[in-house]
């Protein structure tokens, strides 16, 4: 009998390790022949720990499982969810990037290869640099780290730059609240990221890569580091990648708890061992990046999507999507929501469908008040904007941004003035300090919102002015986009900013 218990952080946070231990103990006591596999998460966080059992007829799910459930589970007396692949949540997805996540043992390269892994890299080895870049361009892939910049164009710039050394840097800083796709794929299918980076290396002529991972992800760090060692042992990385005669190797580097280090130039400074301040652009990192050399900086999901593009062909990927948002979006449904987790689907689903239909509405059962999309720099979307389609341009037109595609749901008990205040406070804490409007403005922002709360009738106009100054005078999106959550809260939920004033009148 084979049993899968996720090693994913969310599953662990909900008790998966204790369940795995109880299963091992109980099976041993009964003299049962049980193989326990620690897989990634399927993304149904509300069912974690989600245990899967295969008695020879496919994988049947049980969840959430507690250690106390283990005897019944092994007896076959526990109510099952049925075959995991048949669950509504799974059937409704288009799993391209996450095809193997939760299915395989993340550190078993043979499992990986048996489910399409390495096909893309082998194909890329047979292509020249221009053809690799053309394939990425044709897929329509845009950066999943937030800005949505076309990945093919970035790679072309690096490919055409002449230098003795080039680098692939993977941005695994994933600091946005409401996002965990990067973490999940690194914990659940790390070879996908490694393969994507190797293809990027071949494509642009880079022989060295770094993953800059946030220190808040101990499990992901451990899994990815072990995967890199295995990939090197098995010739997927090193001086002769899969016998191609070409070199690519990589290392994992750990950040040190600074949100701004997710910004690519700040990240590069940090990787070089400097303060993580933002660099002015130009020069573009593509031309002068890590240690001044041409560097591809891409998000984890961008790079982890490269293998499937080469495996199935650019057109297959590009056939999914909406307008100029091609392929799939890895939605991360979070916050006060009944069914939270990761849901990969073609761009184009409406925000309301994601929150109410996929997510099942709020966890508290109260009405939805707002959804913050795109992390702490993203706008609070009111229910009246629920028809907005998940697409870069559509969100832009609605005054929001998709960012890393994290959605944080709030019920009607949320105080939007407090959320606006928190956005300013966060900006003040995390500012790299380079621009006055960001460094000082955010502190003033907190004070101004406190004045609104105290009933000062002039403070709201001041806050709007301050946001304009931050937008215009900030070098990066930390100072430049903090006005999105703040102003969306103020304009979409004016009642939350008026209560005390009314009470005073």
């Amino acid at each position: 009998m084979r049993i899968w218990v996720p090693l994913d952080s969310a599953a662990k946070a909900l008790g998966a390790d204790a369940v795995a231990e109880a299963l091992a103990r109980e099976a041993k006591a009964r003299g049962m022949d049980v193989q326990i596999i620690r897989n990634g998460s399927r993304g149904m966080v509300w069912l974690e720990p989600l245990v899967e059992v295969d008695v020879g007829e496919g994988r049947v799910g049980y969840g959430p499982v507690t250690p106390a459930d283990v005897p019944a589970l092994l007896d076959g007396r526990m109510n099952s969810l049925g075959p995991v692949e048949d669950l509504d949540w799974m059937r409704r997805q288009t799993r391209l990037t996450f095809a193997r996540c939760g299915v395989i043992d993340p550190l078993d390269l043979d499992d990986y290869a048996a489910l399409g892994g390495l096909v893309g890299l082998r194909r890329a080895i047979g292509l020249d640099s221009a053809a690799i870049v053309a394939e990425v361009t044709a897929s329509g892939l845009r950066g999943r780290g937030g800005a949505g910049f076309p990945t093919g164009i970035k790679w072309k710039t690096v490919a055409e730059a002449r230098a003795d050394q080039k680098y692939i840097v993977c941005n695994a800083d994933e600091g946005d609240s409401g996002t965990f796709a990067d973490r999940m794929i690194m914990e659940g299918d790390p070879f996908t990221l490694i393969e994507g980076m190797a293809i990027a290396g071949l494509g642009v002529g880079a022989t060295r890569g770094y993953v800059y991972m946030r220190s808040e992800y101990p499990v992901a760090i451990e899994v990815l580091e072990r995967a890199v060692v295995i990939a090197r042992q098995r010739g997927m990385l090193g001086a002769d990648v899969l016998g191609s005669g070409r070199a690519f190797d990589m290392q994992v580097r750990v950040g040190a708890g600074a949100y701004v280090c997710g910004e690519e130039t700040s990240l590069l400074n940090s990787l070089e061992g400097k303060r993580g301040t933002v660099r002015a652009k130009p020069p573009l990192p593509a031309l002068e990046g890590f240690l001044g050399k041409p560097t591809v900086v891409n998000n984890v999901i961008s790079l982890a999507t490269i293998p499937v593009i080469f495996e199935r062909g650019a057109q297959h990927y590009a056939d999914f999507g909406l307008g100029r948002s091609r392929g799939t979006v890895t939605l991360q449904i979070a916050g006060n929501v009944r069914r939270g987790g990761l849901f990969e689907t073609a761009f184009g689903m409406s925000l309301g469908e994601v929150v109410n239909d996929i997510g099942g509405g709020t966890l508290s059962g109260r009405p939805v008040k707002a959804v913050q999309v795109g992390g702490p720099l993203g706008a609070y979307m009111p229910v009246s904007k629920f028809d907005t389609a998940m697409g870069y341009e559509d969100f832009d037109a609605a005054g929001g941004l998709i960012g890393h595609a994290g959605l944080v749901v709030f019920d009607d008990s949320a105080d939007m003035l407090q959320m606006a205040r928190f956005a300013m406070e966060f900006c003040a804490i995390e500012s790299c300090g380079k621009c006055t409007p960001c460094r000082i403005g955010a502190v003033r922002g907190v004070e101004t919102i406190d004045r609104i709360a105290a009933g000062d009738p002039n403070a709201a106009a001041l806050l709007s002015d301050l946001c304009e100054t931050m937008k215009d005078g900030s070098l990066c999106a930390l100072g430049g986009f903090t006005p999105y959550p703040v102003m969306s809260a103020l304009t979409q939920f004016p009642d939350d900013f008026a209560t005390l004033k009314e009470a005073a009148e």
Binding site: S9, A10, K12, A13, L14, V45, W46, E48, E174, G175, D176, S177, G178, T179, F180, D182, R183, R208, S215, E216, Y217, P218, V219, A220, Q251, R253, V254, G255, A256, G257, A258, Y259, S270, L271, E272, G273, K274, R275, G276, F290, L291, Q332, I333, A334, G335, N336, V337, G340, G341, L363, Q372, P376, G406, V408, F410, D411, M419, F422, F426, I429
Partner: protein, 157 residues
């Protein structure tokens, strides 16, 4: 991690960072290695790092102070990180944090009088679909409330 431990000797610090000198951009890995051994980055490390990496002391100090992770003083025996970010707030994270801080009698970054626990804020642990989230000594916890955190701390000590 004992606050009573003597300050490390320069040779001890050199030994810890020596294996990392060949890295491209070695300073952060070195600081992590030092903090791993001593629980914080002792003042004595600054001149050693400056010397080994051919940097000014002010520069090294500037890097250490930029990052939230690096501490210049020891922590309590356990470090409790509580997520303050939006997704955790949406499910009551603020109240969990406030109750816990009040119960322990500390503010953010503070250490309890008995030296048992240091409480740090953290802005997202990637557990946003199972918040409120926290971490005790690197172990992740989801859907916590103040009572659960108290019990976990009890069990850890």
């Amino acid at each position: 991690m004992q606050s009573t431990a003597p300050a490390p000797l320069p040779e001890e610090i050199r030994d810890v960072i020596a294996p990392l000198t060949g890295l491209e951009g070695p300073l952060l890995p070195m600081l992590h290695a030092i903090q791993e051994v001593w629980g914080h980055v002792p003042q004595a490390a600054v001149p050693v790092l400056a010397d080994v990496l051919n940097l000014g002391r002010a520069e090294v100090h500037g890097v250490i102070s930029f990052y939230h992770d690096f501490r210049d003083h020891p922590t309590g025996r356990h470090v409790l990180k509580i997520c303050r970010a939006e997704a955790c707030q949406s499910v009551g994270g603020t109240a969990v944090a406030q109750e816990t801080l009040a119960r322990l009698g500390v503010d953010w970054h503070g250490t309890t009088a008995d030296g048992a626990v240091t409480v740090e804020p953290v802005y997202c642990l990637g557990l946003c679909a199972c918040g409120p989230a926290a971490m005790i000594d690197g172990r992740v916890l989801g859907r916590v409330d103040a009572a659960r955190l108290a019990a976990e701390l009890e069990a850890a000590s």
